[in-house]
Amino acid sequence: MDRTVRWFIGALSILGVAIVIIYLPLPSMMQWQSNFLSRSFLWLLFSAILCLWRVLRGPTAPDRAVAIDMLGILIVGFCAILSLPTGRDWYIDIGIAWALQSFIGIMALAKHLEGKDLDE
């Protein structure tokens, strides 16, 4: 397919997702899904879907490892932004624990990709 057509389709789909996230009234079951700030975690979910696309399609193993790393950092931001409209502060604790565990897991993955065992 032509390059310009692909660029145009990609930009149009991103714009459509942005319009749906900002303007369309969602069928909300909870009260806090009303304003823009409490709805903006959907934008982070869209970014996480892009990361999962790279996990699905990545040609080699380090591609998937990089996508998993970025997904971990995204989830920390997701927990942080979710603690604002709900008013529950323990989401930040989940973010701290997730950052720790993601860092240790990625270091183990990088060690495995390097061709060594975990205790060298």
């Binding site: 903006s40 892009l50 990361c51 380090p62 990089v66 920390v76 930040i92």
Partner: protein, 111 residues
């Protein structure tokens, strides 16, 4: 005033996160993907956490957000560097538009 600045920081952080993931699916190579996405996603998440700190002030949740920011800003470049090194040593070649490979030359010379 604090809440306005925090809102602006959160929106900027969301934009940085999104552009990092766009670079992750757009660029042709493992090293380009690390280069594009590690810095963007780190700065975006740090922006979100600092906006949360501006919302909360010096309470328990704000201090926790600052701790999380500090931890991420320390550990994300370390993990990206380890991943790039592991990807090179596992045999992934750079893409065909690449012009310089200093690390491979150094390993050939035995340094």
């Amino acid at each position: 005033m604090n809440e306005t600045i925090g809102m602006a920081l959160i929106i900027v952080g969301l934009a940085f996160d999104f552009f990092g993931c766009l670079g992750l699916i757009r660029l042709p190579d493992v090293y380009n993907r690390i280069q594009a996405s590690a810095k963007c996603v780190t700065l975006g998440t740090c922006g979100i956490l600092f906006g949360l700190f501006l919302f909360k002030g010096f309470s328990l949740a704000g201090i926790k957000a600052l701790l999380c920011l500090l931890f991420i800003i320390i550990t994300a470049p370390v993990s990206a560097h380890a991943l790039a090194r592991g990807a090179y040593l596992s045999g992934v070649k750079p893409c065909k538009e690449n012009v310089a490979d200093v690390y491979g030359e150094d390993k050939l010379k035995g340094r």
